[in-house]
């Protein structure tokens, strides 16, 4: 009743959620095994053991554009074309409708 059966496999979110919570509990348990006796406010809490300066958090924020810069760069050929198609010009919007209508008519005529 609770899960769904697609004919190929089954999906039961309650079982999944229980499993997920169990894994989270195990992870927290492992984390709790860590040492608590480190010295606060000394070099032990610094990020870099090598003694580098820690940058200000404002300088570390990855801005929206930068996050997938590499992916966009790798697919720049596709993106250049896809962008060029989204011209924002109303005449092109109409042209796309007419072209699609033409294709549908051809398919219906051929498929009849």
């Amino acid at each position: 009743m609770n899960g769904i059966n697609s004919g190929f496999g089954a999906w039961n979110p309650l079982v999944w959620t229980a499993l997920f919570l169990g894994i989270v509990a195990v992870a927290l348990a492992i984390r709790a095994l860590g040492r608590k006796d480190y010295k606060k406010k000394t070099g032990q809490t610094k990020v870099y053991l090598s003694g580098n300066e820690e940058p200000e958090p404002e300088d570390l924020h990855v801005r929206g554009d930068a996050l997938y810069w590499g992916m966009v760069e790798a697919l720049s050929g596709y993106y250049r074309r896809a962008r060029a198609l989204h011209t924002g010009i109303l005449s092109d919007y109409f042209a796309w409708i007419i072209v699609t209508l033409g294709i549908v008519f051809v398919l219906l005529a051929v498929g009849r």
């Binding site: 962008r83 989204h86 011209t87 924002g88 010009i89 109303l90 005449s91 109409f94 042209a95 007419i98």
Partner: protein, 116 residues
């Protein structure tokens, strides 16, 4: 001769589509949409017409003329469609006026801040 109204309607629709695709001014685009609408209305009215037909009013109509009445449904459709067309045209034109105020132009190639 019987198909003449349909040919005219089709020509109007094609002229309207041409206007939408190739004219550059937003006001002209609105005119194009209006042309298509006129063509469609003509098509609908022509659908219901009978040769030498009379108005579809049943009161006092002699029974002999009953099969010469034009079809009432397409006329009702056309009337509704004209009203809707008026609303869309008015709305489009008022948007065009405000666009002209903001962008300083009505060229469709320059009204494209929303792209990409």
């Amino acid at each position: 001769m019987g198909n003449f109204p349909f040919v005219v309607a089709m020509l109007l629709v094609i002229l309207g589509l041409y206007t939408l695709l190739f004219k550059r001014n937003l006001i002209k685009l609105v005119i194009g949409a209006s042309l298509i609408e006129t063509g469609v209305n003509l098509f609908l009215v022509a659908l219901g017409y009978r040769t030498a037909g009379i108005a579809p009013i049943y009161t006092y109509a002699p029974p002999a003329l009953a099969d010469r009445m034009v079809l009432p449904t397409p006329q009702a459709l056309t009337l509704t469609s004209i009203v809707i067309g008026l609303a869309t045209t008015a709305l489009l034109l008022s948007f065009a006026v405000v666009i002209h105020r903001h962008y300083g132009t009505l060229d469709v190639r320059e009204v494209k801040e929303l792209k990409g």
